[in-house]
Amino acid sequence: MEEITKKYWKDYQKEIADDNFYYERSCIRQSFFPGSEAAFLKILREILGKNVIDDPNQHTCTGIGYHSDIVPFDTTMTVVARIFSLMKDHGVNNFIPSCVTSFGIFNEVVETWNHFPEEYEKTKHFLKQATGRDFEIPQNISHASDIIYKYRKELKEKMPYRLVNRHTGKPLRVVEHIGCHYSKLFAKKSEGGMEFSKVLVGMIEEWGGEVVDYPERRHCCGFGFRQYIVMANRGYSVANTKKKFESMQPYKPDFIVANCPGCAMFMDRWQYTIAEMEGTTYDDNKMGIPVLTYEEMAGFLLGFNPWDLGLQLHQVQVEPLLDKIGIPYDPKDKYVGKSGNFLGEPEKPENLITVYGK
């Protein structure tokens, strides 16, 4: 019995590569959280000393178009093959997507090639015909968060801060959202599987926090591709997020951390929308629950300047959380741009309380 259990868990242990990576940027993360991608590269290169290719030639995997069904699967498979071919140009073979949607796409495509060799041959032919290129399947595909998870202990040693409330000495209570396409498509591609995925839990617990378990923990954030892209459908998206918030509220989380850039954005923006539409917030102070990317969480614990990480791009303000941990920040620096000039402040929402320009 013990052997069987061991074997079962072995299936859910994932191999994560340790160097020589090709970083595939995410359209959503670049647009909404560019500071997170910069922080990831800084952590890998400057703190962990890894070799990571950041190729200017890379492009969309078509993921959002594919899941909203305007891009056929043959096209997506061949676009993915082109990205793998770009990786080959650089002589590395460990692939790191920054987006959960693309992580799902790359895995779906590679699994299809493995199960249906004729699809693989077809894609090779299409890519050659269209571009004259050849490609190889990466040796390893790990989501960017998998790498941070793998090195969580090493990073902890460099962190001046912990996920602990400095006033009470208690661990912060953290909601983790791993994102549907990280683990629901191929549970075995996620360490710990779908239910017990360790990717964010491992970081949170290692760095001093406590994970909140709540009934709708694995419910979709509500993106739904066409259900958000088309304005008429957005009720679907907000209704799903609302369901999650109502379910987590009684556990009084200090913040939410998301694996997927889309989820991080939706859970932040829908809190604003719900507050403005019906006056509801899911915390006690009418300020909302801060939603972070895992790069932001790692970044501020490592002592990066919160305003270089991009925490000012969240609609739900993060200062109360920084204050709880004891992370210093300069309020005057928050709305300053690349040129060093003050850019003015965002308008204030009617219901959601903000601490702009404190």
Binding site: R82, F126, V230, A232, Y236, G310, E347
Partner: protein
Amino acid sequence: MGKFYDLLMQDVRFVEGLNACMNCGVCTAICPAAEIYKYDPRQICDIVQSRNEEKIKELLLTDTIWYCGQCMSCKARCPRGNTPGLIISVLRKISQETGLFTNSEKGRQQFAIKRTVGENILNTGYCVHIDIVNPKLHPEQGPVWKWYYENKEEIADRLGANYNKDGSGALRKIPQQNLDEVKKIFEVTGGLDLFNKIEKYSESAAKSMNIYFEKEGINNEYFFQTYMENSGKHEN
């Protein structure tokens, strides 16, 4: 075998996505779309499995197949390893290829997606890009987003991006040769064909609905019709 079932069987995702559904309804229990919309993935599996051509055609014609949010929770839970979400994708593909999608309100929305995400992929190499998330079309993004949008180069570049410039980095300008090759891939693999079909069938739908249509861009009545129309008859 019938015409529509044959078309389904030609897609590797259909072969992968459906193996002897036992109608247990677990997928429906977990499905976020079923909770909100008049939608039942178990029933979809039942219909395609029955090979009933009339009923399959009905699916291709109506709003039903457009309700799924592609979260793939069904894949994770189905005791038979089926993926109703993949079956939906194949049905959507056939609905667009045959032009049947323009018969339903939710189906017609494919035009709005093609004109935004689709054009963006070919023109910029990004499927979503800060430049297209205009606060006017996205009030739900809130005032911080508006502030960011209005100062995007200053802010993004402070955060380490390389907004719209040559070289590597977030939001860089993607060199033209890559866009040319991606476009060529769309040509060779049927991606452009699908775009053209969405255009062609949408144009004739606009005509029969008597709504103003333009060959390009989003500044026309048919775009806004498909982007915003909501009869309110979809929810449970």
